[in-house]
Structures are given as C-alpha cells and as structure tokens.
Symmetry: C2
Subunit: 281 residues, 2 copies
C-alpha cells in the first residue's frame, strides 16, 4: 500500500510539474509573427495586434505583397535605431497609405497587467502584458507600448499621422522620450544579435562615410504562417501573467544572491527586465 501511495503521489507531482512547466510558456501565433531574413542571420518578431491593430494589419499586408523584400536599412545609428524600408519617394513607397497614430490606447478601470515599477521617470506605472512592456497612467486610463530595446515601430514624418511602411527597430538604450509619439507594434523575440549587427549608416564626424552599397538589406520579410513548416523558427515566450513570473520579478528586485554583497536599490527598469524566449520544434 505504501508503494502504491508513493507512486500515486509521484505521478501527481509529475503531472503537476508538467502542467506547471507548460503553462509558463506561450506559443506565438504564426499569423502575427514575422520572419526577417538578413544576410547574416534570421530574426523573429512578434506583432501586437491587440495594442496597435491598424499598424499590424498594414505591416502584414505589405509584408505579404513583398513590399520589404530587398529593402535597405538606410538609417542605422548606433545606440538608437535601425530604420529601413523601400527607397524614399519610389512608386512602391508613394503607393502606401498613411496610418493614424496608435501610440497609446484607452483602457477601462478593469485594466490589469503585471506591474514592474511605480517610480519610473517617464510614467506612473510600468508593467508587462502578454510579454510586451507597457506604460500605464491610471488617471488618464491610457496605456502604451514602451520604446524598450528591440521593439519595432513605424517611422513617420513630422505629422503624427504620417507613418506608412518604413519601420525601425530600437538598438540601444530605451528611447523612452518617443513613447506615445510613435506607434510601436511588436518586438524582436529571437535573433536580436543580428539586428545589432546591421551595418551602421551614420559615422562620427571626421570618419569615412558608408557607401550605400554596403547598407544591410532585408533578403526577405515573411509572415511566419507563409513560411514552409520546415523553414519556420518556432518560438515560445515566457508568460508574464503567472505567479512564477511575478516571483521572478520579485526575486530580481531583491537580488538575494551573495554576488550582491550590498543590495542595489530595490527598483527595476522595465526595459532591463527580461521576458525569455525559447525555440521549439
């Protein structure tokens, strides 16, 4: 009897462990995931239609039309952004319709997210929702995607509603002063090191300018569901709404580890708080 009981307990524990592990990860929707193929590596981007629906819709439509295939990253500034798109003023470029800014969205009093910090320099509250870093102002009942490193956003002209198809990926310290003023519509979940290796187009004063023929090109940009299954890169991302994730954040805040021989201030920069990815078959 004791053996059976032990087996039963062991089986239950095993089952719980499996359930527990499975629920800590979320598979990406291949209809809202993009594969950016660069000459030196592959990059996977998760889009956020729940926060920036029209930008995602247009980006997917243009991607399916082959709009970005062969386009250059023509404005790449170290520590800032890698921006690309079709040649300015080209027929392809001019044919794209302008988008109304989706820099922020309204929420109601039931809004919840996994709060990270309340004394951020730029906003009342920061936190994660579905893996994306958000700012939230409870009085305004507004939330918005933050300009953390590795987000993708639409470039625009001076006017708020002038974005079309040119996008940038942030490659340096969070450009938080752009929050709400630009539409972030996704984030890199795999291959960020390849984005970091995109050829810079701007050099310091006194250095040799870069010939545009060396600009990094996008070999292709594809919606993941259009990629042959054998060629797909399947990514799962850490869920950010679980007890486990909340505990991870709490541990990170307290730094309860001998390496921290004295403790840093118990605050977290949301853009320095990781949401992990893993690759699956």
């Amino acid at each position: 009897m004791k053996i059976i009981k032990t087996i039963l307990v062991a089986t239950t524990l095993l089952a719980l462990t499996f359930v527990g592990q499975a629920s800590e990860w979320r598979a990406l929707d291949p209809e809202n995931t993009v594969l950016l193929t660069l000459p030196h590596g592959k990059v996977v981007i998760e889009l956020a239609p729940q926060f920036s629906p029209n930008h995602v819709k247009q980006f997917i439509k243009l991607t399916r039309e082959g709009h970005y295939n062969g386009a250059s990253f023509y404005r790449v500034i170290d520590g800032f952004v890698a921006q690309g798109g079709p040649k300015d003023g080209s027929p392809l470029d001019k044919a794209t319709k302008k988008l109304v800014l989706e820099g922020e969205f309204s929420v109601d009093e039931n809004f919840t997210f996994t709060q990270v910090q309340t004394n951020d320099m730029f906003v009342e509250q920061t936190g994660f929702k579905e893996g994306f870093a958000l700012g939230y102002n409870s009085k305004e009942q507004k939330a918005w995607m933050l300009h953390c490193p590795g987000v993708i956003a639409m470039a625009r002209q001076t006017g708020a509603d002038t974005a079309t198809s040119h996008f940038y990926i942030t490659i340096g310290q969070a450009t938080r002063y752009l929050d709400r003023l630009m539409t972030v519509f996704g984030r890199v979940v795999y291959g960020m090191e390849h984005v970091q290796a995109i050829r810079r187009t701007e050099v310091v004063e006194g250095d040799t300018p870069v010939d545009p023929k060396y600009y990094t090109r996008m070999l292709s940009v594809q919606v993941m569901s259009d990629v042959a299954p054998s060629e797909r890169i399947n990514i799962e991302v850490s869920r950010t709404d679980t007890e486990t994730y909340r505990n991870k954040i709490a541990d990170r805040r307290t730094r309860d580890n001998a390496f921290f021989f004295k403790k840093p201030p118990p605050v977290l920069d949301i853009c320095q708080t990781p949401v992990k990815s893993r690759r699956v078959k």
Copy 2:
C-alpha cells in the same frame, strides 16, 4: 576706414568662433586610451584613471604585457555584456593580482558635475564629469561611474575584491543594478557597433549552442601611445562642462521641435544622453 573696421570685426568674430569651437572638444590622452582590434573592426576606449585609478593602472600594465592579445569574448549575452579575458585558470590568468573594488569614490562638498537628472530611479542625482556618466549622492558624499551601455568594467567572483583582468563591455539597456558593485573604468568612444557585433556565446533554450571556436577574439589590445602614429585612431570627445553642452541638454529635455507634436515628460535618462565623439587627423 569702414573696410578696415569690417575686417577687424570679421577677424575678431572668426577668432572667437575658432576659440569657441575648439573648446567644445577634448582630445583624449593617448596614455589613457586603448585600441581594441577585433577581426571585424577597431574600437577605442577612454580609460578613467581619475575615478578608478588602480583598475586603470592594472589594465594598462596587463595590456602592455600582451595579456589580452588573442583572448576570447567567452561570455557574450545579447542585451547585457560582452565579457572576455584569458582562459580561466590558465597560468596567465592565475598570475594576475586581485584588485580592491573601486565601485565608488568619495567627494567633498565642492564636488561639481553637469547635472542631468534628480529623479533617477537608482540615485539622487545623475550627471556628467569629463564625459563620463556618474551617479552622485550628496548626503553620502559619494559618486560612481554608471553602468550605461558601452562602459568597460572588471568582472569579478562573488567577493567584492576579486577582480583581476577579465573585463566586460555593456551591450544593452543600462545594467544600473550593478552600479557601485563592480568597477567601471572607462567607456567606448569609437567603434561601439563592432562591440555590438561580437559573437554571442549564449543562445536561447532549444537553439544550437555556439562552438567556442567561433568566439570572437581580440586580435590585439594596445595602449594608444604604443600604437604607431600612422595606425592610431585619434578621437576627441565633446566636453560636458561647457555652457554649450548644458544648453544641449536643456534643449534635449524640452524637445522643442515640431516632430514632438506633444511633449514627452521633461526628463532625461543619462544613459540615453549622448556625449559625442569625432575623429581627427
């Protein structure tokens, strides 16, 4: 007479302009500048003996002994650090003496710097001194170099005073929780894009591990004054103690430009506030 007066005024204006321009830049001291040659590009690092004298002294001594030539970047985590040094436990590694932490330094009541922000999440005040980003606590009368992207710091074991020769360069969102706990002793002033292109050694779960034979090596690390003049990269950096620089910061804070159709909060993240470099003959 009118012509002469015009010439005199013009000459004076010209002289003032030259003086003004010249004083906005500071030439680096080649005795405290390092040239890191990677297979894919050259990187210039300004050392900070004024803030971390013993770390700089040891780093220069080791550099002159050829300690780093051929060493690998063996711990490179995207968005975090690129860490390198001689093989752990090798005779070269074991022969290096341990350094006492220089994570912060004492200042007196006459301490001044170019203040950037007073509501930073981690510290009472942030600002620049001689181009380096510092934190400053007036009550403690302590200041320290901040872990902004592109700083070089000594790695260590668990104990505070265990750093020897292995160093890291920060390659992502500022790891400010390491402030005061590690010794920052310089910053990259040229070629940061090449640091960003160092091969990552850690991959996400489920991805193919990187064979150490592909780790990026330091072809050489040299004190700039030891480099043949024709091979030197001569860099000047923006002075941060001038009225012009203070005005630049003030302008950056107010974002008085039509692109900002509504103004972001009037705060500056010091790690996102540039101190420019330029290359000279």
